[in-house]
């Protein structure tokens, strides 16, 4: 982890001591992942996939590409769960981690990786039940592993998603829903970027409107703001009763685009009766 990242996180935790245990767990994850290097993915020829992509099929839904993902993701998952199993984390979390690590060390994870990648939630559920795995933790750690592999191959994958007409509310890379949003300066306004709750890819999306149900009727969309966190707001939709946290500035992405860092805003939004979507921790 770079010093700057570490410093920012420490500063944040100093201001938000109530997030300490979650923050430390996330720091551990970052440190673990930073040490894992994977081989470059063998990406299929972009031209063959353009048409499907144009029709809204995300990159990682390409069958060939999925096959090439299994090995590096499995490698990351094994290391991640191993190190986390020994880390200073709450007992329940550790237990779930150890169970998955044990499974991954002794079995091929291809089957569950496929289910998660294809977002076949029923199969994920059945698989975890059958193998006594914590479904939420499995989901969470597998997506962490996928996002790490994707991030190591981001220049190549980026070529695939340089498609201006991707106006969809799901990730162009993996197909997951967004978990966060960010407004970035563009001309005299701000462009909205959604951050994938699965592989952490960021993509541009229409500036106004619910990121989940597509509601564009502005009289049924609202914002919640709090002076305590002026750089992050909560965009809520009164049609589908969901919310998305939106970082309205730039430069502090390390903090604000780490979902855990503003968990307290999630609690406030949920208290108002709105539901979170897109998190790999949630079984949506």
């Amino acid at each position: 982890m770079t010093n700057n990242k570490q410093e920012l996180t420490n500063q944040w935790l100093a201001k938000h001591p109530f997030l300490k245990d979650i923050g430390e767990m996330n720091l551990s994850i970052i440190q673990i992942l930073e040490k894992i290097k994977t081989e470059p993915l063998h990406l299929p020829d972009l031209d063959f996939y353009k048409e499907a992509f144009g029709k809204g099929i995300p990159v990682l839904q390409n069958e060939e590409l999925q096959k090439s993902l299994y090995e590096p993701v499995e490698q990351v998952l094994r290391t991640l769960t191993k190190v986390l199993s020994d880390a200073q984390v709450p007992a329940a979390f550790k237990k779930s981690c150890q169970a998955l690590h044990f499974y991954a060390e002794n079995n091929s994870t291809t089957e569950i990786l496929g289910y998660v990648l294809r977002q076949e939630t029923n199969q994920v559920h059945a698989f975890c039940k059958k193998n006594s795995l914590d479904e939420k933790f499995a989901n969470f750690s597998i997506w962490l592993s996928i996002s790490h592999v994707v991030s190591q191959n981001s220049p190549a994958i980026k070529l695939w998603i340089e498609e201006k007409d991707w106006e969809r509310n799901y990730c162009p890379v993996c197909g997951s829903l967004p978990v966060l949003a960010q407004l970035k300066q563009a001309n005299d306004g701000h462009q909205r970027h959604l951050i994938c709750g699965g592989c952490r890819t960021s993509w541009t999306y229409k500036r106004i409107g619910c990121a989940y149900c597509g509601n564009e009727e502005l009289n049924r969309l609202r914002l919640y703001e709090t002076a305590a966190e002026p750089d992050m707001r909560i965009d809520v939709c009164e049609d589908c009763h969901t919310y998305i946290k939106t970082y309205i500035k730039e430069d502090q992405e390390t903090i604000y685009l780490a979902d855990w860092a503003t968990l307290h805003l999630d609690l406030l939004a949920e208290k108002e009766g709105f539901s979170k979507k897109g998190s790999s921790l949630l079984i949506n």
């Binding site: 938000h16 979390f93 007409d165 306004g189 500036r207 009727e217 502005l218 539901s275």
Partner: protein, 1000 residues
């Protein structure tokens, strides 16, 4: 009872993500406890559309506690892509401005101050003033040409405004005005772009910008003439710059070197008012050298039609002229026709009677040398423009007020239609004639017919000559009748029946000889005929030419009602410097309106794109949206008339007017869209309208905007399968969501696109229908190229083709009834050059006829003098600037815009300044025969002296948007400008008058 860990967490009130973390063993209750004191504030973001020029830029506002806290460009908007000009950004200051009036105001006759009054009182006083003026000055019958006509009209009320309010407000304003029987109905389009609809209509059949802002990227050549787009339509530059990056060439023809010239490949300076000479020489060059697109002319224009053998043009005058009335009898301007009334055509382009030959012969006189003598542009530069027009295809022509504000405004623009029809540059992507409208909803105020001569939808308003529905139909055609019947069903509901001519007889009838423009309304106020004026979102005390007449007119009214967001110079005319308020008996009522950010509704940009504006912050104090004010005002008027048994008041009693207090704008938009009255469903497209009274539509062009019950003006879809900037799912365009008008002309006679790279529509032989990225502009998508309907690329012109020669023509149906009637300018079927009314030289083409012979000026000799070059040797041209807009009522209340440009000034050429010993910053007096003002000089080399007919001639330039109100005050330039009017449309000659300049 056993409580497991999960149940325990749930009892802590945790759900969702909090529950998950807690379930993993993290201390979430601690997080929850720590944030108990965090207070959430409700806020909202809203989208709207900018208030200034008609680019229609998207903005996003952020509102907290009812206050605007941020305004920014909408990045996903197809026109501005997040950018805003200085004015657009500056509007953020308006909702929180301490200059905004918060309560209705009243100024008693003779008083020197305002008094705050309640809304009830303001509405009641306004309604009673309108009623009084109407009742005491009602003309039931009028004898015209010795014959008595029932006209049911009042000439005592002037009704002005609409271009700065939303479509729904425009609709209610005109609906109210027509119910009251008012003749003097007008808005800022008269002053800005009124020349555009008739000119484009005469050439193409519709009166609007042909292509879109987002289509500019596809062009190879942009000719900008009579516009400083970089300052006046800054976001329009986006498309131009995109095209330039792709290799397009830019030509700028204007009276000065401006910020627009700076990005051009070629800038040509011309003398104000000489565009027809300049363009005429280019038309001549194209025809003489056969550079025209012959295939396009054959397929899509009237080039091969035969003109009436009696048509003549001699020494500046067309056949049929009556010097006494300054008008033409247009019979000889028609075609040779067969027994069915259809135009005869030749197969020989050079047939002596063909349109082509007539045009060629006509423009022979326009050599480059002649054009140079008249305009001052060097011959080689004119030729360079012509060569570029020929070389780079497709090419688009863009223009603004530099072309419209002349006594030949309509004919100026007609030249563009001819050039583009000759070159095959219409209906295609990257081509067209783009009229850059200058006010946020001036396209809407024109669409809704807030002009004395129109109903909504460009249907002629009846005069004594068309006083029955039968006569009206005979003149305008059955196509127009259908739209009119639908309008009358919207206005009169069940009171419009086939038996009572759908209520047509209840309507007022204009005197066909009257000029009922806003200019004449002030002259009639001076005369004591107009007694009351109702002015909404317009500031004629700054924006009208020859302002002394406005001063006198307002001072002579019984009552004046002004509805605006600031107390304008018009509302406060009795407070102007040097005015003795005690001598002015006009009662003034000021109705404080909500700004655009504070109210909802639609407006339409230059590209005919109808967009929804959401309401953001609360209006200050008691200010109200215009739609609410109009609604309450007419309800009060109806209440005052409810017990009347007079025939003249029936129309008010029978008028449909039952709008709710909430969601008023959407209710009105639905009425505008129209209904199938049998099923109660909203119409989905124009084609669903019937002519039998079973459907209604407040504006036929907008039918479909609420199709399937979906408010399509709210759409923000950014997909563009064409990659040509069509964006079919972004908002809604008229007609029927078509983005590029006349797109049938982008295909050959078989329906095959001329330009595969930029194809818009095509005939799909296998599916047997027209298809495309855009909505095909054809009468029926199933009627293929082999049918007559498949060969009508300009289907709204009665001939179905583009009109190089704007012939007088009515298309007859099988029963010999008029089906449709094309528009012909009153001053000629072909544009001819005439000097401005105040000109420094003679007409080099025909000395005997110097000015447009159809212009009547002066109309009021004692108030309208004509200056001579001996006393006033310099040509004055006026226009807007990037930092201030129109009358400045809004922008002069934005502090940072005032910091950018704080006062009016005069731009003087270096050489002239040296002759007059003037330097930048020197105070100078600028004087015309109408008045004198004092401003600072700005000496530049941007308008060089020109050699005109052998004489060195200077032009000076001034911005016009200042007055005595607002945070920045300054003299109004329009005290010196001339109010001579184009005879077609009554637009004033802002761009050319004569002045003298002296050191103060």
């Amino acid at each position: 009872m056993y409580i497991n860990r999960r149940d325990f967490i749930k009892t802590a009130g945790l759900t969702g993500i909090g529950f998950v973390f807690a379930d993993f063993g993290f201390d979430i209750p601690k997080v929850k406890a720590a944030t108990e004191d965090f207070k959430l504030t409700k806020a909202k973001e809203f989208t709207s559309v900018c208030h200034f020029c008609a680019c229609g830029c998207g903005v996003i506002g952020h509102v907290r506690d009812g206050k605007l806290i941020n305004l920014e460009g909408a990045t996903d908007h197809i026109v501005n892509e997040g950018s805003l000009c200085s004015k657009g950004v500056g509007y953020a200051a308006i909702p929180n401005s301490d200059q905004r009036p918060k309560k209705p105001l009243y100024r008693a006759p003779g008083s020197d101050h305002w008094e705050e009054i309640s809304w009830d009182e303001a509405i009641e006083r306004s309604a009673k003033n309108l009623k009084k003026a109407r009742d005491e000055n009602w003309t039931e019958k009028e004898i015209i040409d010795g014959k008595e006509y029932k006209v049911n009209r009042t000439d005592a009320i002037g009704f002005i405004g609409g271009s700065q309010v939303n479509n729904e407000e425009c609709y209610l304003l005109v609906k109210m005005a027509r119910a009251l029987g008012i003749a003097f109905i007008d808005n800022q389009t008269r002053v800005c772009h009124s020349a555009t609809p008739p000119a484009l209509n005469a050439g193409f059949g519709r009166g609007a910008m042909t292509n879109s802002w987002t289509d500019l990227r596809n062009t190879q050549l942009v000719l900008i003439e009579g516009s400083n787009i970089a300052e006046c339509h800054p976001m329009g530059m986006k498309g131009i710059m995109m095209a330039k990056e792709r290799g397009a060439k830019i030509i700028h023809v204007d009276t000065r070197f401006t910020r627009t010239s700076k990005i051009a490949d070629l800038h040509v300076q011309v003398r104000p008012g000489t565009d027809i000479a300049f363009l005429g020489s280019i038309i001549n060059y194209i025809m003489e050298n056969k550079f025209y697109n012959e295939e396009f002319m054959l397929t899509h224009t009237n080039a091969y039609h035969l003109i009436n053998k009696d048509f003549k043009f001699d020494d500046g005058i067309f056949s049929g002229f009556d010097g006494k009335s300054h008008s033409y009898e247009r019979k000889t301007w028609g075609y040779q026709v067969d027994a069915a009334g259809k135009p005869l055509k030749t197969t020989d382009l050079n047939h002596p009677d063909s349109v082509f030959s007539k045009l060629k012969e006509f423009y022979k006189r326009y050599t480059f040398e002649m054009a140079s003598n008249i305009s001052g542009a060097p011959v080689e530069k004119i030729k360079e423009v012509a060569d570029m027009l020929v070389k780079y295809q497709p090419g688009v022509i863009m223009y603004a007020l530099g072309m419209t504000q002349h006594t030949v405004g309509v004919q100026n623009i007609r030249c563009f239609t001819i050039v583009q029809l000759l070159m095959g540059n219409i209906g295609r992507s990257g081509a067209g004639v783009d009229a850059m409208r200058g006010q946020p909803n001036v396209q809407g105020s024109t669409d809704f017919g807030i002009m004395y001569q129109y109903f909504p939808g460009y249907l002629s308003y009846p005069t004594h000559k068309t006083a029955t529905l039968e006569e009206w139909t005979k003149d305008n055609g059955t196509v127009g009748r259908k739209s009119l019947v639908n309008l009358l069903k919207a206005w009169l509901g069940e009171n419009a029946t086939k038996e009572n001519n759908f209520g047509f007889d209840l309507l007022s009838k204009r005197n066909g000889y009257h000029n009922d423009s806003l200019y004449v309304s002030f002259e009639k106020a001076v005369e004591g005929i107009v007694k009351c004026m109702y002015i909404t979102g317009q500031n004629p005390q700054v924006t009208n030419a020859n302002l002394s007449i406005v001063d006198k007119g307002l001072a002579n009214l019984d009552s004046l009602i002004v509805q605006d967001i600031f107390v304008t110079e018009t509302a406060a005319f009795w407070q102007r410097p040097g005015c003795d308020a005690s001598k002015i008996q006009t009662e003034v009522i000021f109705l404080p309106a909500a700004s655009y950010l504070e109210r909802e509704g639609t407006l339409i940009n230059s590209s005919r794109m109808i967009q929804w504006r959401y309401a953001g912050p609360n209006p200050p104090g008691d200010a109200k949206p215009d739609i609410e004010i109009c609604n309450h005002l007419f309800k009060k008027v109806r209440e005052l008339y409810k017990d009347s048994i007079q025939e003249k008041d029936q129309i008010i009693q029978k008028w449909t007017w039952d709008y709710p207090e909430k969601d008023t704008a959407e209710t009105v938009l639905k009425e505008i869209n129209g209904y199938d009255l049998k099923t109660g469903k909203l119409l989905n497209k124009i084609g669903e309208m019937k002519d039998d009274g079973s459907t209604s539509s407040g504006l036929w062009l907008y039918a479909g905007v609420f199709g399937n019950g979906i408010n399509k003006s709210k759409r923000r879809g950014g997909t563009d399968p064409s990659k040509l900037g069509i964006f079919p799912e972004f908002a809604y365009t008229w007609p029927d969501n078509m983005r590029i008008l006349y797109n049938r002309a982008s295909c050959d006679k078989n329906g095959k696109p001329y330009d595969e790279k930029r194809k818009l529509v095509w005939w799909d032989e296998s599916a047997k229908k027209w298809d495309g990225y855009d909505v095909p502009d054809v009468p029926n998508i199933l009627d293929g190229p082999a049918t007559p309907n498949g060969q009508k690329p300009f289907r709204m012109a009665s001939e179905g083709v583009g009109r190089l020669f704007a012939a007088e023509h009515k298309d007859l149906d099988d029963t010999m009834q008029t089906r449709d009637h094309s528009y012909t300018p009153v001053d000629g079927p072909i544009p001819e050059f005439y000097e401005p009314i105040e000109s420094p030289t003679e007409n080099a083409l025909h000395e005997r006829v110097k000015n447009n012979p159809c212009v009547i000026y002066p109309r009021v000799p004692e108030l309208q003098k004509i200056g001579t070059k001996e006393e006033f040797p310099y040509v004055l041209c006026t226009s807007g600037i990037a930092e201030h807009w129109c009358s400045g009522a809004v922008t002069r209340n934005v502090p940072w815009l005032n910091e950018l440009v704080k006062e009016p000034f005069i731009e003087i050429p270096v050489k002239l300044a040296a002759q007059l010993s003037i330097k930048s910053g020197t105070d100078v007096k600028v004087r015309s025969t109408r008045g004198e003002i004092k401003v600072k000089a700005m000496v530049t080399d941007r308008a060089k002296p020109l050699m005109i007919n052998g004489v060195e001639t200077f032009m000076v330039w001034m911005p016009y948007g200042w007055g005595f109100k607002g945070l920045s005050k300054g003299p109004s330039t329009n005290y010196i400008t001339i109010d001579a009017l184009d005879p077609n449309i009554q637009i004033q000659e802002f761009k050319a008058c004569l002045v003298d300049v002296k050191k103060a």
